[in-house]
Subunit: 427 residues, 2 copies
Amino acid sequence: MKTLIKNVNVLLPDGTTPLTNLCIDGDRISHIGEVPDDFRPGHVLDGHDMLATPGFVNAHTHASMTLLRSYADDMELMDWLNKMIWPAEARMNREDIYWGAMLAALEMIQTGTTSFADMYGPWMDAVAEVVSDSGLRGVLSRGLIGVAPDAEEKLAEGVSFYRDFHGMANDRIHVMLSPHAPYTCPPDYMKKVAAAAQKDGIKIHIHMHETKTEINDSLKAYGRRPFAWVSETGLFDGGATVAAHCVHMDDEDIVIMQKYDIRAVHNPGSNMKLASGVAPVPKMLSEGICVALGTDGASSNNNMDMLEEMALSAILHKVDAYDPLAVPALTSVKLATEYGAKALSLADVGRLEVGAKADIVLFSMKGSKWTPRNNLVSLLAYSANSSSVDTVIVDGSILMEHKELKTLDEERILFEAQRSARHLTNA
Amino acid sequence: MKTLIKNVNVLLPDGTTPLTNLCIDGDRISHIGEVPDDFRPGHVLDGHDMLATPGFVNAHTHASMTLLRSYADDMELMDWLNKMIWPAEARMNREDIYWGAMLAALEMIQTGTTSFADMYGPWMDAVAEVVSDSGLRGVLSRGLIGVAPDAEEKLAEGVSFYRDFHGMANDRIHVMLSPHAPYTCPPDYMKKVAAAAQKDGIKIHIHMHETKTEINDSLKAYGRRPFAWVSETGLFDGGATVAAHCVHMDDEDIVIMQKYDIRAVHNPGSNMKLASGVAPVPKMLSEGICVALGTDGASSNNNMDMLEEMALSAILHKVDAYDPLAVPALTSVKLATEYGAKALSLADVGRLEVGAKADIVLFSMKGSKWTPRNNLVSLLAYSANSSSVDTVIVDGSILMEHKELKTLDEERILFEAQRSARHLTNA
């Protein structure tokens, strides 16, 4: 299948946005520029008044938590978890996991996300089904609680999930292993996860240094900060670990990230709403750390909208550092696209260039938020909202065209998600 | 003209959102609840799957700066002003002011804002024309630079503007006087403005304590902080002054605000983007200060979307104070509605209750961002974006119904605004 996007402004990796043409052949971008004479598209999209960007990469989320959207807000963290979130999660069955992830997929497609990294469970096979059917790209992992009585079983389940699903759906499904966090997984368990991961070559996705409490508790329990002791369990030895949050970081933590090529996922909306703190994003970037963006779960955000995270990443660090140049518009776009793909080890994703995977969003630039068009990157980062997402393409397949969904049944998803939510929260 | 909104969730001042009916008679809300037998509406709106909220009050902006949207971003403040913004503003003619304000009006209606406070000029009569024709409610003021050679003339112009326009368009146009800021208006000029304002009973709208530099420069020049010396010029004596920003505040500043009943307008998006600082909103609220919300100009935001400011106000102060309860969802909604109306001295605006002005927004709750509907106020503050603004009513008149604009010609406005922007920025 060949698709041509004609006369479209294309956001290139260097930040320029020329008016040109974009050719898709199969799952890849085959040309940007003049359309070759022998390129015969089966489908042509008119790119007039459109900006083509790489699809957003939501590098840390818990998709099925969309079911808990607006269920519990404005609470102290431990009250929120103990009294509301964990009891509701304990009632989740496979149908809930499925419809929650479907609701997330619906919102992601409508807001321009083409790849997501999901840490959740049980029934991650239901999430894999959602990835397969929706057409999205998913990096899935079963969250592992090392202190739980069934921790060993869950690890085995995580490895089986990898063996069964990694590389499926034309390689749109990847699988990682997810020891939940240093405060739920003691050193011995981390060692077991590390051994299992490295045996199969599975990458790690973990929460790190989200709150001050986590750091202080680690200092009390182990005499060291989490990055320090976890690095000694071998967990990071496989390289390219995805570390969500990285809010409270000292120089030694950053040295460890450099040494093991650990990637940070910044979740500004969640970190602000839960009052976790401000991650040192400009510092990590200047130290050569790959920083991606994520929404975290919808219960602490409260949505899956990467354009909002992008805008937050651009303005939060300016005020935090009293530096209006801290995270410029183009950097925020790269956090949400190119760096996200790199963080998740998604080869050839996150940049619009010849040979790359055709994961593309077309933004309609009609309307007041895109007027006047002085600078398209600034408009994208600072002014637009996701209602201008018009068309979404993943792996060369169109998932939404002029706002019409091609793979999902919106009415059904909204109905089933509302029903699941009632069953979880009205108990 | 009578309008009935049937079977709608109504956000009441106490934060509850019952499913009920809302009756509009002329420019006011006549009933909420059972529809009286003798209420015969000329127009009925189906409120199914809709949330009715008070229209947003954008309590500090510079509407025509929409023309400079995305023209100059990611720059140091003084470079931004000296090299980009001020030269472009110097090229503005009456047509530019008009189409810039029209572009702002278009965006405001589409994003649920029903009242705005605009400080700009010259040609504020062009902005009054926009208010009159769009159907919005506007609190307009001519910005006065005390150090300019024509400062006296401009003050006279500001007073004439008040006499000509205050109370026009069924009282939808109010006029204030706007000495720009303490760093552009020396004490003698402030005294003249104070005298002129109090002679005609004109309220004041001014920038106060936006940056650290402003405080430090004032300490150098006058040996005191701006609030201290400005209060002695008599500028605040008329009461109910609108003070935009109030970022850098000490206890004495807050005592002055209390003493003169000064209202703060918080502009989180602009303060973050320009790296100005974080206003002490929770502290001001707990001290009984009326705090409103504003977008500031679109060149430092970069849009006029009050829902984004609301979300920012709710999450910024949580992370700033390490307190997840700092500004709860309902408080952020009140900043954007009830407190905004109070700050601007707009009587009977900002609350949905019997007898209030019918300034109402209907949000469509269809779609993923509003699913599941565990808590409508949380969904509004943390999850929704302005694309769910469906219908906008001001003073009982429908300005937008199911996204169809009733007073504005969108195509024309976008065309003319783009043309004006070219003339300003391509010089």
